[in-house]
Amino acid sequence: MTRKAFVMPMLTVAAAMAAAPALADETADLVVNGEIEMVTRTAAPAHVDGLNEVISGWVFRSDETQDLQTDDFDNPGMIFVDQARDDFETAMGTEGQSCADCHESPEELAGVRATYPKWDEERGLVQTVEMQVNECVTERMGAEPLKYDGGDMTNMVALISSVSRGMPVDVAIEGPAQSVWEQGRDLYYTRTGQLELSCASCHEDNYGNMIRADHLSQGHINGFPAYRLKNAKLNSVHARFKGCVRDTRAETYAPGSEEFVALELYLASRGNGLSVEGPSVRN
């Protein structure tokens, strides 16, 4: 750990916080459990025009929030990962199979989260981790699909993400996925809603600035599913998209929709090179 430790009497801290918003220590390094070293800043991939450096959302959070992610015991998102670990072993559907019958352990799925969303040759479309989970649930296990942004699904995605932590995000954007990626890029730069904001208005042009009380990040999705302190649960990427689009005062696309899958592919590719952090802790 190379984080700076500030030793201050509590009263001083309280007074300082009342005077100014608690801004992040932007030079800190993220090491989880004292062993997984995360890349939180790296050179932007060549296909990203608007950024020189890509920065994880973790960097923009306050010291206290940052600390929560450095240890699995302190990270409240790991509670949900544990729940998914139980689900992983639970047989469901007409086939009487559990995830563990094919995959043995979640650790076998290491690396999955880093390369998704991914082109699926057989189906001829870009698949997210959620879609892949539901493919197993419906086709191999003979069960009802999980709700795309429901708790059980998000927890399962967090489990799959947790075993890839520290691996660099590396989604493929060329070949058959390219047209979907371009659709995602167009969505990213399209202004929507009564406020006429695009994703780029906040997360490319104004990251690092305050939007009222919030410190704007670059909006990467390497930390998803993210445990948010505001609602005390894991939040899926598409639920976050929905929240952002709603905040522009627009009608949103549905979680799991073709548009959000395209946007997810594009956004994931913007963060190529950052570490998979999910489940991360954000405010």
Binding site: F73, D74, P76
Partner: protein
Amino acid sequence: MADNVKPRVRVPRQASAGETITIKTLISHPMESGQRKDSDGNVIPRSIINRFVVDFNGENVIDFALDPAISTNPFFEFESVVPESGTFTFTWYDDDGSVYTDEKEIAVS
């Protein structure tokens, strides 16, 4: 009974005699305050962990009283002096009468 209640505890495996150690505990629990209403306007009944006790070799270390304003998945971190090898027992009491327990051994050299 509240769903998915799962206690977890972190205690160092070993320590030297008289050392002060840090103990972290977390229990997943909704901690429904009893102040909220559902979409039909009915009050959602209170369901919280109301007491949390830690003993070491039968001697009480700490005894928390929990109230409805405590948020979901209560986390406690505290320090304890360990004079000898032994067992920490952790007990959470639920409003519905359920009792959840966990134990951790520590070796003192």
